[in-house]
Structure formats: C-alpha cells, structure tokens
Symmetry: D2
C-alpha cells in the first residue's frame, strides 16, 4: 500500500537503476556515429563566470572535480544524447587583454574557489583555450571614451560574424552556441522598431547605437550565421520580437534572460510553499550584497533597471496577488564574487497572525552561474541537432525572466525540463 504518484515511462526512467542508465548511454553513444563537434563562443571570456566555466569544464573532464552543479549530469538529462564535456570547443572574446591562466589565478586569489594545485594540473588546457580568445574592446561601445574612433554597427556585426566563421572553420565545428555573459548594459527603451526585423535591420544600417545594444547585435550576428544564442545576462538580447522572428526564420534556438542563480532561485522555490499553504505574504524584502564587477555595474541605477524588473515579476505570479517586495542591490567590494542575500518574509497565517521567515544565501556567483551555462549550451546544441528552433521554453528554470514563459514557480519550471527530457527519451525508443 505504498504509492508513487508519477506513473508511466517517465517515472520508470527516473527510477531506473544504474545498469539501465549505462545501457541507455551506450546506446546513444553508438547512435552518434559522427560525433558532432560543437563550439561555445563566450562573450565576456575573461570574466569570472567564463573563467570558472573553463576551469570547471576541464577539471571535471580530467576527473579532478565532481560533476556537482551540472544538472545535465543527472537523470534524466544525462540520458539524452547530449555532448560530452570534451566535445565542447571553447572560444570567445572580451574587451580587455589578458590570458585565461592570469584570470584563473585572479579568481583563485579573490574568491578562494579553486586551488593553485588544480590550476597547475590543467595549465596546458587553459593555455590552449586561450588561443581562441580575442580582444575586441570596440564590441562593447558603451565603455568607449567620447572622441574615440568607433566602427559602425554594420562593421561591428561583420567583424563578429567573421570571428565566428574563423572559429568554426578552424575547429571544423557543426554548430556554435553564442553565450552572452558580459556586463549589464545601460537600459534602452524599446520601440516598435524592435518588434519588426526589417525595421531593426534599418537601425543597424543607420548605426543607431542609441537603440541597438551590444546584446542585440550579438544575437543578430549569431542568428545570421545560423548559430544559437544564449543570453545569461539581464540585457535585452534576443528577447525583442524582431530577433525572435529572425531566429525562427533561420531555424536556430535561443533563450534568456538573466540567469537565476541566487536570491531569485530561492525565492521562486520557496514562494510556492506559501501559496500552497494559503499563507498570505505581506512583505518579502530582499537585500543583495555583492562585490564583483557585476555588483559595481548594478550599483548604478540605470544599469540595474533590467535586473530589478526581472526580480520583481516572480512573486505576484506565484502568489497570485501583489506583494510589498523591496529589492536592494548594494555594492560591497570586500565580498568579491561571494554574493550574500538576506530576505525577510513577513506573512499572515490563520486568524491573520503575522509570522516571519528569513534566509541568508551565501553563494559564489560564478560557481553558481558557470554550470548553468554549460547545461544550457549542451541542451541547446542538442535541440539544434533535433531540428528545434525558437525560444527554448523548457530552459525556463534557469532564468529570472524566461522568454515567453509566464510561470515563475521553480518546481513547475523544472518539471518542464524533466518533461522535455522524458519526451525525447520516449521518442528515441
């Protein structure tokens, strides 16, 4: 008289034992006669997230770290015919000059996340990846000085497309996932021109840098090359109608915006509990302290707008009513990449009695973000191979503001991912 509630094939898969997993895996490996060689192009390749992603990917490949943090290493996602980590070829660009090793050592010193002995062991691989990282300060034109020469949007776009072409050809890549993990951009008010691809192209042609942000240009370039675009930042990216249409037309997947790594993750995992118990949330106040480059950028109100907006949407949707929900983002340099968030939840229960819950989240931003990027790169590359295109709604659980998905309840979002995997596993039988 013991009940498990999820019947059918999906449930079976979820519960299948190690042997079955192994067999499945072998089966898929067998299928992949000519293993796809997939590229990952990191925009912001010398940032903390990129550096952590590169270090972690190699460490896991080499058996120097566990697969913790990677959702694609768990059942049922690991049963899909996704790329192995060593099948992903990494390249990218950033706006300043450095080396991967230098950046890795800097992260080491600042964040105490990985150790020097580890870096020593993977020194050669780090150096090799470094050969595919370009320095392109002009591509982040927001930071150029007044008076400085700046190529036109058309020139910049062509430059970026050229880079992708060279990268693909050098490594003989079947596909590239372009990943935006750059800094927060200045807020640009959206107009009708952003909803129409022809109008949008005109903005580029007319070099309207006040209406086209780098994140949009990257997406445009990627789609024109028939590559996938993943936007992990709060920047607008491919979320405007014009670019969504282009992606569908060119048959490529895309998704974003704003990776859900810390406070919002916890918020969207906890709020459903209050909803399910009919505990009326009166106030949900959040304080975010962070000291990395991201924090510095976000401490300027203009750059923070997209972010705060992304964080605000979740609660009313999950709870079903408007909530007094303050979100403070404060720059605290000493914390570095270790984001500390404190939330106070003031809620009413039976007989309208007020009660409180509070939580503190102390996580390292890039350690939390990097594996999500890897997970999504794998899943987008897989989707592309399956002929899927447009917004990848099943990746909603990875984002604060998932494009085209109104559901913010983390657990329901995660079910969407599980359902996606289960559907593909059923089909492949």
């Amino acid at each position: 008289m013991f009940v498990f509630r999820l019947p059918g094939f999906r449930q079976l898969l979820l519960r299948c034992n190690v042997v079955t997993q192994f067999l499945h895996h072998q089966y898929y490996k067998g299928m992949k006669l000519n293993p796809s060689r997939a590229g990952v192009w990191l925009i912001g390749a010398y940032g903390d997230i990129a550096t952590t992603l590169i270090t972690g990917k190699i460490a896991i490949q080499e058996g120097l770290a566990s697969s913790a943090g990677l959702a694609t290493e768990m059942s049922p996602m690991n049963l899909l015919n996704i790329c192995a980590l060593d099948e992903l070829i990494i390249g990218g660009h950033d706006i300043f000059s450095s080396t991967v090793k230098e950046q890795a050592e800097a992260v080491c010193d600042r964040s105490r996340t990985f150790s020097y002995p580890l870096l020593k062991q993977i020194e050669q691989q780090l150096e090799k990846i470094g050969q595919d990282i370009e320095v392109l300060p002009e591509l982040n034109w927001e930071f150029t000085q007044p008076g400085e020469y700046l190529p036109s949007l058309v020139e910049l776009c062509n430059k970026f497309r050229h880079l992708l072409k060279v990268f693909a050809s050098k490594h003989n890549l079947d596909h590239i996932v372009v990943v935006n993990i750059a800094s927060a951009e200045t807020f640009i008010p959206l107009t009708a021109a952003h909803e129409n691809i022809d109008e949008f192209v005109k903005l580029i042609d007319r070099d309207r840098k006040d209406q086209v942000s780098p994140s949009m240009l990257y997406a445009y370039a990627a789609f024109m090359e028939n590559y996938s675009y993943l936007n992990f930042t709060p920047n607008v990216g491919a979320s405007i109608g014009a670019l969504q249409v282009l992606a569908v037309e060119n048959g490529v997947p895309f998704y974003g915006n704003d990776g859900k790594t810390g406070e919002t993750l916890v918020k969207t995992a906890l709020a459903p509990m209050f909803a399910a118990r009919h505990l009326k949330v009166m106030s949900w106040e959040g304080t975010n302290l962070l000291g990395n480059g991201d924090g510095k950028t976000l401490s300027e109100p203009e750059n923070c707008k997209n972010k705060i907006q992304n964080k605000a949407a979740a609660l009313p949707q999950i709870l079903g009513y408007p909530v007094h929900a303050g979100v403070d983002i404060n720059y605290v340099p000493s914390l570095g990449d270790w984001k500390t968030a404190w939330d106070l939840i003031h809620f009413k229960g039976f007989l309208d009695v007020p009660m409180t819950m509070q939580f503190t989240w102390q996580g390292c931003d890039s350690i939390l973000a990097a594996p999500l990027v890897l997970d999504m790169v794998r899943l987008m590359e897989f989707a592309h191979r399956q002929g899927e295109h447009g917004p990848m709604h099943h990746l909603a659980c990875f984002f604060k503001n998932p494009i085209g998905v109104g559901e913010h309840n983390f657990h329901k979002q995660y079910e969407m991912l599980i359902d996606y995997a289960a559907k593909h596993l059923t089909q492949s039988q």
Copy 2:
C-alpha cells in the same frame, strides 16, 4: 508565443475567474439537497491547537478574520462540494477540566495571537462548543499515577465509542471525523501483533497497555463506529497494518502522521531546489526551539523518537543520497507556542566549492497547525461522502510522515492534492 504549461480542464479551472467560481459553488450547493451535518471530535480539545482551531473557525465564519491559512478556501479545493465551516459541529475531550473561554484567554496571554476584543465578540459561540467537551483523564493512561485505578482498554474503548454515539445523536450527525491533536506518547516498539487485526483486538482484550497506545485505541474505536480518523500527532495512531485493514473493511477514511507545519515544511519545499540544481548537500543541520507543552514532552528523549524519525526521512528521499542531518529539539519555555527553527544548509556546487544557506522560521505552532486540521477534516468528510476509504494519500502534503507515500517533495505532494481536486471536478461535470 507565451506558454503556460498545464493544459486541459484542470488548468482552465485553476484560472477560471470569480464569476465561474461563484457559479460552480452555487451549482454544488444546489446539489447538496440535504446538506450533510458533520462532526469533528477533537482529542486534546483544551490544547492550543484545538483552542486556536475553534477560535479561528468561528472568527472566519463571522467575518472577523480572513481565510488565510486554509488551503480549502483556495481554488481548486474550494470548488469541491466540501462542508462550509458552519456545517462542521465541534466536540471533543481532554484530560483536564477547563472551559474553552479560559483556554482561549490563556492562549491570548501566552502567545499574543488573537485579541481579547475578538474573544468578546464570539463569547457565546465558544461557550456553546464547550458544552460538547468532556473531561476524561483516564483516556490518557500514560499520565496516571502508579496505584491509581485505571479502567481496562475494553472499558476505555467502550467509553470513547459511547461518547461518539452520544455526540452524533445529539447533533444528528451523518459522520464524524475523529481528530488526534493530543500530546506525544511514549514510543512503543511495534510487533507482528500490530499488523494483524485479530491479534491487535486480542491485545485490547488482554488489556496490554504496554502494547496499545491511546492513539491506537482512538483509531480503533473510531473505525468500529465507522468514523474517519485523522492523526495530526507523531503518535502511531492508525498507521499500523491492523488498523489500516480495519479502516478499509469498515469503509472509512483515515490519515496521518505528524502534521508538517514548520521546519520540515520548509525543508521539503527547499530541498528539491538543491536536488534540481545538482547542488550536493553535505550537511543540513536543524535546531528547533519551542516552549509549549509539546516542546516539554519532546525534550524527553523517549517521546522524541517518533518525531526525530519523521523529520529524518525526508531529505535522503528528496535528494537521492544520505545526508549528515542533525535535528535538535530544545525546550525553551519563554518562547511558548512560538517555535523558532534555524537550519544551516552546507552544500557543494560546481568545482566542489562549499557554500551555505541558512534560514530562520519563527511561527506560532498552533496558528500553523489549526487550519491544516480544518482543511483535512473537510477533505476527509468529503471523501467519505464520495465513498472513498483507507489512507487518503492525497493529503500527504500535510504530514511529515504521510502514511503509504514515499514522496517527501512538498511540491509534488501538493500536486497530488491538486490532481485529486481536479479529478473530482472533472467527474462532477
């Protein structure tokens, strides 16, 4: 291009507007030609949970408090043909002499949960309910002094059954839900005799008070009268095989054990987030401070065994691996009914980097527990009218140790309840 993931009738119902809800409700009300009169028998009727339940039920009926805390007042549960609050007739017994008003004022003073002006307004209703509360010290034989005369189990059982008969006949009740909200009992090791109804009856006949606990006797008596039994305590109650069989044979619903109101609620709502992100929980340490009678009883290791055991099961099931998870329960008299729990979650992310989350939960135990009892009474009475019997698995989300359900993920448990409601709503169309 906006997606909601739950398709079909159930989804429609969840989103139906107020007008539709009203029509549904009227429709069902119309169906209920002879509205069922349902009784609720509270074991521990002078305890804080019972007192809060009684006060809250009346306050909501009278429009003096919102319906916060009651899950059955939310869609889709409120679309079922469940009893209105004023259709529930309350009675019960306790082991000491008092009045409902006295107890309500004591809760007022100790816990500052409801106000004297409120009590003033519902004075008469409190008094009326008091007429159905009996004093039966002998029914909690654990607390009797050595040498004191104690009736046999058979006599006690008959006494209790007689009480239920009188209550039913006085109020012309169609059904009674017997609710156990008494104190924690001493741990009794279970034997084969507890799994066989004939053997179990023999234990009663032989007056084996060392093997039959009050919570078992209550369940037995309830089932023999064809009444439902709801066990909100960590006590064994109806969870032994013998009693489960009896319930099924006599066609009555039952469920338990150990209401999920605080720390475990949060734990089972949060742990799935760590699982879904492949964040490896290394330690999950919980400290529970409480100062009510329950806390005093639990501070004695023997009484605490059931509870700690109930709390420990959830994490390994949700996470899929064993976790270092300490649970301390400390008696802190000054806190009264305001339970304060602090949990530290120490987990590993990408590159095996250790990170931490901590939360503090400050809730009033009886304010959290009372509405769950009301919710379940309504749903069990409804189930009984539908001819359902045996363990009510769809109530799993209300319990730390849901009988016969291995799933501890709160969100999946809650889906079971939603599915149950949706199924009944579809059928009734």
Copy 3:
C-alpha cells in the same frame, strides 16, 4: 586569588546588598522634605512612543508590569535621589485630535505589545493624563497646506510657552522636562546664524521658517522658560551653538540627539569587540526595515539625512579607520512598529582571512524607546535639582549622536553614566 577590577567606593556600591540599597533609598527619601513635583511635556503625545511611555509608566506604578527596560531602576542609578515614577506628571501636545485611550488601543491592535485587559485596568489614569494633552497642528508647520494660515514663529513660540506655564501652574510643578518625540523634520542646512543666540533670535523675529525648524523652536521656548529639553529625535533641536549657549545662560540641562534603540545600539556594543581583537572590519552593511510613521517619513531621502548621518559616525570612531558601511532604511508597512534590522559584518582576521558575522534584531521601536525617555527625564530632573546645566554628557549612551561626546563605544558611554551616579553617591555621603 580572585580579582575584581573596580576598586573603591563605586565598586562597593555596585556590589552592595539589598539591605544597603534599602537604607540608602530611605535616607534619600528622608532628605527630600518637599518632594519635587516634576512635569514631563511630550511633543508628539499621541505617537507610539508617547502612548507606550504613558501606558508603561502607569502599569509599573500599579505593579502590573515589571521595571524591565528602565535603566534607572537598576543599581547604582536607583540609589540616586531621582523621582519615583508617580512623582512625574505627564502632559503634552500633538498635531491631531485623539484620546490617550484610543491611541493605546490602536497600539494594542497594531503592535500586540500590551493587552486590552491591561488597558482596562488603567483606563482612569489614561483618561486623566488625556486632560493635559493639547492639539496644536500649527506647531508642526511642515505639514500645513500651501495657502493655509500659519502663525508667525514668534506667535508659535509664545503659544508654546503659554502652554508650559499653564501646565506648571495647574499641577504646581517645580520643573518641566520638555521631550521631543515628534516625527523627523526636513533637513535644514545650518549657517553661522545658528551658532549665535542673537542672530538666532533674529531668525525667529523675522519668521524665517526656512531656517528655524520646530525642534529648534521647542528648545528655544523651553530654555526661555528655564525648563530642560530632551531631544529624542534625529532633528537638530538644541544641538546648535546658539541654543547650547542659551541653555547654559539660563542654567538648564538639555540633551540629544536621536535615541539609540536598535541597530545602532547593537552596532556600538559589538564594534568594540572587533576593535579589541584587531579583527579588521572590511564592510558593515545594515538593512533597517520598519513600518511605523517614522519609517514612512524616513523613506523620503530628505528626512532621512540626519538619521543616516547619525548612524554613520559611530563605526570609524570605534574602529579607528574608515569602513565600507551601507545603511538602508526601507519602509515595510506590514511590520508596523516592529523594526527588523539585519547587519552583515565582513571582517578579516589572522592571515587576512575573511570571516562573517550577521545579526537580526527584531524589536518593537516604541517599547525600546519609551523607557529611555523616562530614564532621561528622571536623570535630567535630578541634574536640574543639583544645579547642573548644559549638555548632559553622561547621557551619551542613550543617543546615536550624543551632543559634544565623541565616544561611540556603548560600553564606555555606559561607564560615563555609572561614573556620574557613583560620583553623586559618594558626594552625598
């Protein structure tokens, strides 16, 4: 071989047993042949602090509450010849019309701090005090509507002085302590005129409401009547040079500003520990959530300036170096008078290893503030009887921004109070 470090008479007093205390007390009582009748004039008499002060004072007098929260009820302060609580006569004014009872019930409902049965028992005393509370909306001219008739500063000052005269004469008072517990005022930039009493009087004569704030006018009026002035608010009050000189000339005590009740209290009690251990504080970030009228006023940046400034001064003084110390004040209506502060302290220890401490303070603002006002009223009235005047530096421990005292270490400030009491006790022998 057991050492106590404080030698001499003071130490003896601190350790003297109950018998000695009793004898001392009797001795002083005997001295006070004609017990002084002292008045307390509350500016903001219908606010939460005033209401709590009045309720608490009566409750303690009547033996309905303990003396918790009152520092003057502890040794050695209680050995001084200070007024008994029932020797303090309370009056005051506010800008809106109400009754003490109404306000007390409102506090009851909002803050659940005291109970209706208590209010019932002291109903008559509340009513009696109400007879000495006036409604004077014009005295808070910041809140008057444009176009509305507004008396000149001279008229307002005379009006207020008249009120004090009437109060003194009605109750045959020897002295009055005027207490400012009104709302935060708009920030007024200080000029040379504020440092010179003659220039300041000219500002009043010229009706310069842009340069004279209500808190200054109250202080001016009090001093002109030879009464003490206690400023519990962050408002400027008597801290300008002009008024300090006037107080000294007229021989009256005064003190302020900004009562130290919550986060800053904890901060100035904890920071010395970090200093003493040479633990280098890198960041001390504070978040204050509050929902009372004070919180609403402070949520407007202009009104918040004095407050934030008062909070910022303490850390660099105690630690000896500048610290990254953010202070957020957020208005969270649901919290009412229950202020919740969360502080994160990020500090470096040996080998420059970063570590963290965090604390959450959940206190009721008026419950924390009211007894401090009573303590200081008693001590200022005592000082006045001793012929002391000017700034009462020994009260520094009660303020965020103690006038003329650079020391912010709470423990050293408290020693100043103990030393003051000890000195008076030694002299009186």
Copy 4:
C-alpha cells in the same frame, strides 16, 4: 565643549600619533640591549591552530600578511617592550608524525584559509621550524591502546623536561612559554590532592594516570623548569591549586583556560548591552556546529563537560540573574575548521514585551585562535622579564574561564589589559 572621558597619561598614549609611537618604539628597542631570545613550545604542534600560528607568524614577519588579528600589534600593547615576532623561536611536539609543510598544505585544502603561493614563499622557514618538532605519542596517554606499553608519569615528566632543556640549550633561550593547544581531555573529577602541591607530586610518583591528566603534567613540568605555561584548551591544566602554588613559588607566569574565540566572545561582548539597558534576557540559546578534530572530540559528552561548563558561567555573572541558556555542540564534518554558531536571544523589554535578537558567527577556528596564542606568549614573556609571576589576570579577555577572574564582561576584561599596558608604560617613563 567636546568631551573625551579617559583622562591622564593613558589617554594620551592611546591617542598619540604615529610619530610618537615610533619614538617610543625606538626608545624601548634601545633599552633592550641584549634582546631576549624567547622560545615557544607548542603542545599539539601539528594541529590546525599550531600550523596556522606558524604560517601566520612567518607571513607577517615577511610582510606577506597584515598584522590583523594580533592585539599586541595595536596601541597601547605595541608600545610595550614585547618581543618582535622574529624574536620568538618555535618548537613543540605532537602525538603523530608529519611535517609542518604537509600540515600547512592540509589546512590549505580543508579550510581554504591560506594559499599555496604563500606556502611556496615560506617553504624554507616552515622546514626549519620542523626541525624542532618532536613526535611523542606516549605523552597523550588517553589515546594509547589497552595493553600497549606506557611509561610512568615520572618518566613522561622527565622526558618532557628533557625536551625543553634541549630546546633551550640548542637555541640559547632565556625563557620558554609552554603552550597547550592539544585536544580536549576526558573529564577528571578534582579532589583535595589537586589543591596541595605535595599531595599532587605523590599522585605523579604513584603514576596515578586516573587523577593526573596530560595538561596537568605539562604545567608541572614547565613550572619545574621555571618556564611559563599557557593553557588555551578547556583542559584543567594549571588551574588546580597545587600547580598555582608551584608557579608562584618558582616565580613563573601561567594562565588559562579555554580560549575565547567565537560564540562565547560574542556572547560576553553582547550580554553587557542587555544588562545596561535592563533588557531582561529570558533565554539565550546557542548552537555550535564545527567539523574539526576538536568538534569530534567534543561530540562525546565526557570530553565536552569542561567546555560547556566554561561557556555557561558567563551569562549569569554579566546579567546578574540565572538565564535559560542551552549550549549545543554538534559535530558537522563538512564544516571542517569553519565553526558556525547561531544564537537566539529572547528578551523582555518595557511592559514585559518579548523581543528577539539572533546572530550567526562564521569564523575559522584556528584563524581566530592562533593570534591570541601569539599575543599571550608575547605578554607572558614580557611579564616574566618584569619579574611578574602567578596567574596573569590581565589576560582574562582571552579566555572563556579566566583563572581567578570572576568578571566575564568582555569589555571590562579588555580594560584590564589596557590598564596593565598603561601602567607599565607610565612606569617606564
């Protein structure tokens, strides 16, 4: 009209500017014609505290780390004629075989407190210190297996004294401070024999290992060699009357017990605030989670007795009344040396309103402990040169259970240290 409260020479010194400090320092350096060469003998020399102490001492000497954490590097302590860090010669023993470098790398990996590049830079110094660390498993006889050969107490004592002699002679040392930083011992009930030096010597002669613990034997040996003894552990050490007398007779300083590094430090810094405000503490509940060897030992109730006792004494002394104060110590392996403590303080204010404060302390045990040991070694060596002997009461602020000092208020304890320094500075002029 600005007041600082501490008058006289001491105040001047505290405020003296950098120039003055420099001159003083030079003056004292000049005095020290023949700089004393002082030894430090670490019992538990391969433990985390010792390893951290050695690493930090060298790092600071070499300018590779700041002096954070060292109280003796702050005014006025740094104005005393104490040893420079490089004048302290380190030796010691442990019960297992290892090297300093191995231990340092292990701490690196486990606790992420210092970095490999740092270790690389000081490799040679670490190796050199290693030459003075002996392996002596027999000296911690509690951990020997039954049946194993074990020397008598007299033999062990002689062995240890011999080690000290060799160390002194090898390095030409004027004095040695013997430091106990070994693990917690089993609790030994004290008897009259522990209070009398002759009786105590008989216990040694009779090889009564059930009545003489290692920590006592170390103290005895040190005193017999006329060396100082510093007991940082909760073990009994020199606190028994017999050994105190011996120290005085032989003219050597000693002190202990149980370093105050974390939760108790915060407790004794915060409790005075509650006392000074007459906020009545109803409950002060503390939970300590730790995962180092110390934590494992303390998780066994017998070893924990000394510790819990040391932690319990402080509150009633500071507050002046008994308090419900639970202290849990839980072993959580994943935390390693990072101790996490959570305290809930439930207190009553004005009108007996209950309020709460809670804090979380996340500190690395050895990082907090190591500098205190260095501070005290310097101060004890200084005291010895001044001809001082017996219990060093001015070091009370460093201990949970300061021998012979009843004062637990951290701030008053710290004043004792400041007063001591000020007294010596005044005398030296």
